[in-house]
Symmetry: C2
Amino acid sequence: MATAANTSGTVDRDTIERIVREIVAGQGAPQATSQPTVTSAAPGSRPADLRVSISARHVHLCDEHVETLFGPGHTLTPMKDLYQDGFYAAEETVMVVGPRRRMLPTVRVLGPTRPFSQVELAFTDSISLGLDIPIRHSGKIEGTPGCVLVGPRGVVELPQGVIRAARHVHMNVACAREYGVSNGDVMKLRVESEQNTVVFEDLLVRADETSKLEVHIDTDEGNACHLDQATHVELLKQEEEACACH
Amino acid sequence: MATAANTSGTVDRDTIERIVREIVAGQGAPQATSQPTVTSAAPGSRPADLRVSISARHVHLCDEHVETLFGPGHTLTPMKDLYQDGFYAAEETVMVVGPRRRMLPTVRVLGPTRPFSQVELAFTDSISLGLDIPIRHSGKIEGTPGCVLVGPRGVVELPQGVIRAARHVHMNVACAREYGVSNGDVMKLRVESEQNTVVFEDLLVRADETSKLEVHIDTDEGNACHLDQATHVELLKQEEEACACH
């Protein structure tokens, strides 16, 4: 599949994403001079540590689609826990097929299951698949393009649900209070590195009672800011400037 | 080569880059709601139009290497003029080979020739090639990784010269004066779009007597900010905030 050595002149996304995931996990990062979880210099009582994770393309499935794709009675098998408690990358992968038979052969399923299925891609993934996808908050899929999911035991045609997930930050409500923001607000993420500092605005705040502080950006965003080279990462209110000290 | 339909599950970079180049050129952009050359709302006497172009991976060659790669007496054949006067994409392409025989089969040569050869890649290209490349200003290649270039008539081993080119803005000195910057300074580029505004700091000013105002970012940066969806593009001094009106 896509794990073969890259000799075709196209970018082997799986390789990139594996490397990026290793970097994010701090496991044998080939170029890492720092981990993406770096100390925030935000003033006052703000949280001291800010984890920035790169979400590679993935699929959320409903129970019914798990059974259609993987067989009657099948449930997802957790492979690796994600940072947020209760969430995991599953052993299961699906093929995502777009128009004109373009496809992504191995897209990871994340668990647990949800009330409806959804595919989250980066911009380059969507071009690869031949789809024009909008940026949406997770779960807001009305009017988005569909696709076909292919599993080992069956096929599901999604009439909608393929999105580029809006970048976002998970936090609990106490943390949100410290930042002076509420669920649904937007913030700015400043990723500082040598000659390559990038500020991502429009970072959606997803605050609830239990989430840990964690920013999710996609692979395109992670590559553009070269996250593994970051020397400093900072969350700012949308109207706020970075610390003068940086 | 890499122009085949993408059915392998890897991203077809040539397709992406072709689309991006078409978008930049304003030719039949599949998703474009605006062109990257948009009116700047910068206050005062600043230039009214700001062109932002995406530089796909490319190679600059010296005369000697052109002859080695393409045959004795060979000179580059202009295929398409670039926006900056006197510069062009050549008909010629080379294969760029990295460690462990990973390679990019078709990398465009830009003209005219230079005193020494240099390869400019995006971060994803470098991962694809298996190289850990630094961000450098064009021409500053001391201590950078090398590679092998393969042409139809010969091979060149570059001991150094593979870089991720620092994003930059070309302008003439009169324009630089209006912005209040000098050659070698850095600025910020703010690319505003629905739910996806990104600020690229560390944008190098390359000011001379004759250049036209034009920002160059690479494919990773262009994909992250989804440049073709941009509704507003703005150049700011490094210490300056965006207009309150935006």
